[in-house]
Amino acid sequence: DAGITQSPRHKVTETGTPVTLRCHQTENHRYMYWYRQDPGHGLRLIHYSYGVKDTDKGEVSDGYSVSRSKTEDFLLTLESATSSQTSVYFCAISESDREGQPQHFGDGTRLSIL
């Protein structure tokens, strides 16, 4: 398995509080991604990064921000959590953007916003 660690694995918090999820990789891959997984929607891309301090929005980025100060860490922040952000969050990495390169996923963070 690719060396990807997500923390925390589970979190319960209240509406309006800030939340930060961490993705750590030991593969030295350039590309990192955050997805949310919801029933009936599959996985949807929130934000992605193509290098240190290089990030961009995905299809469901509203309410989320990210930071990548080191190659190995990609942080996802919910500035003011809402109940609609209750989901399972997956981090993924990719070695390159060459055609046919797979993404490899972490174990996920199960986040509940009450």
Binding site: D1, Y31, Y33, Y35, G40, H41, G42, L43, R44, L45, Y48, Y50, D56, G58, F90, A92, S94, S96, D97, R98, E99, G100, Q101, P102, Q103, H104, F105, G106, D107, G108
Partner: protein, 110 residues
Amino acid sequence: AQRVTQPEKLLSVFKGAPVELKCNYSYSGSPELFWYVQYSRQRLQLLLRHISRESIKGFTADLNKGETSFHLKKPFAQEEDSAMYYCALSGQDNFNKFYFGSGTKLNVKP
């Protein structure tokens, strides 16, 4: 716009029966297509990618550009195949962004 459609939310078959999980895509260029499998509450694992034309765990998938499909097939289902299956597309836009279908839950009954 890129789109991946998996029309079946749930597919139930008996052990030993053939399985076909459908995936259709919409993409203007030449896509790269993948199948991922997720066992109960685990991480997504790469099952197949069309570019390598492999057979993993008895599963195969053929890219049909005319029908814009990438259906996943297995001739004889096993109980351990029960899982969630996701079809994904990577376009030639940039940054290897993936677009996922909504997933099909495969239930193999004994």
